[in-house]
Amino acid sequence: MLHTLAQQDPGELEAGLTAVGRGIVYGGAAIGPGIGIGLVVGNAITAMARQPEAAGMVRTTMFLGIAFTEALALFGFVLSFIISG
């Protein structure tokens, strides 16, 4: 196995590591916002179920909360494209 590794083109290894790094960056950036959006929407649904007449206001605030939480995942998404070998 070491023999085959040694025969590889050094550029190939770099490209592979870049791909792995991109995956780690986006995957890592998606963990927190995933949990956060779940919390936001879950609590919004609870609020709507408790007080259906306030659903409109809760929905607007929910979208705001999602937008702020989601921004972090999207920064990771853009960063994963910026990384290059």
């Binding site: 206001m57 607007t60 979208f63 705001l64 999207l74 920064f75 998404f77």
Partner: protein, 252 residues
């Protein structure tokens, strides 16, 4: 190459050759679509309000329901009745962003204008200028920055840290996150549709039956992307309204 599939690199999916014009002012597909979106927005509201009828039909219906949506769901929910002065600005933003996004789904076009950072960045800078100028006009140049940076109820020890963070929020984070949110969402949606189209095509070539499943998923994803296109226009506009509101009414 993933399992024998050749996915096009990102640069092939969003970069278009210059059709005419020079280096800096070159016009490509994205710019043409942007001009077309401007024309559609102007045409929609011109045709919708040219000869208004009491019972709206056709184009007037579309224009009126758009105005009503922005008024009720965005302006009244965030700024309140006094925010109606910013209605033309927010309505233009909403309609323009939505039409720019929806090009993602039109057959034979299939390129969201906002998947290039230029347009979201420009619109974010416009929003940035608007809320800072509104804040300075309403609270004075010193009052605006004082009210945003010094938050009542914060312990004295961490006040300098909070002040710096708040200043960075209004100057950098807000426009950056506005632009990146719209751009990244549209780019991600575009890449998703491209990936599924490539998979469908590859599987159709090998087994016609095998292509049916990704094709069904592709149709579903297009419906989902329509929702995303609408939602991103809505979120961009509502955040612009929230920022204007925070300039009008400082936190007490």
């Amino acid at each position: 190459m993933i399992l024998g599939l050749e996915f096009p690199p990102v640069s092939h999916v969003v970069e278009w050759p210059t059709l005419f014009g020079g280096d800096v002012f070159g016009v490509n597909k994205v710019v043409l679509l942007m001009w077309l979106s401007v024309a559609i927005v102007i045409g929609l509201f011109y045709a919708g309000t040219r000869r208004p009828k009491l019972v709206p039909t056709g184009v007037q219906n579309v224009a009126e329901s758009t105005v009503e949506f922005v008024d009720e769901q965005i302006v009244l929910q965030t700024i309140g009745p006094e925010g109606r002065g910013y209605m033309p600005f927010l309505l233009t933003l909403f309609t323009f962003i939505f039409i720019c996004n929806v090009w993602e789904l039109i057959p034979l076009v299939q390129m969201p204008v906002n998947a290039r950072i230029a347009l979201p960045m420009f619109m974010a800078i416009v929003v940035w200028f608007v809320y800072i100028i509104v804040g300075i006009k309403n609270q004075g140049p010193i009052g605006y920055f004082k009210n945003t940076m010094i938050i009542p109820g914060v312990p004295k020890a961490i006040l300098p840290l909070v002040a710096v963070i708040e200043l960075a929020t209004i100057l950098i984070t807000r426009p950056l996150s506005l632009a990146v949110r719209l751009f990244a969402n549209m780019l991600a949606g575009h890449l998703l549709l491209v990936s599924f189209a490539v998979i469908t095509q590859a599987l159709f070539v090998s087994t016609i039956l095998g292509g049916a499943l990704p094709l069904a998923l592709l149709v579903f994803l297009m419906a989902f992307e329509l929702l995303v296109a609408f939602l991103q226009a809505y979120i961009f506009t509502i955040l612009a309204a929230v920022y204007i509101d925070s300039s009008l009414h400082p936190a007490h």
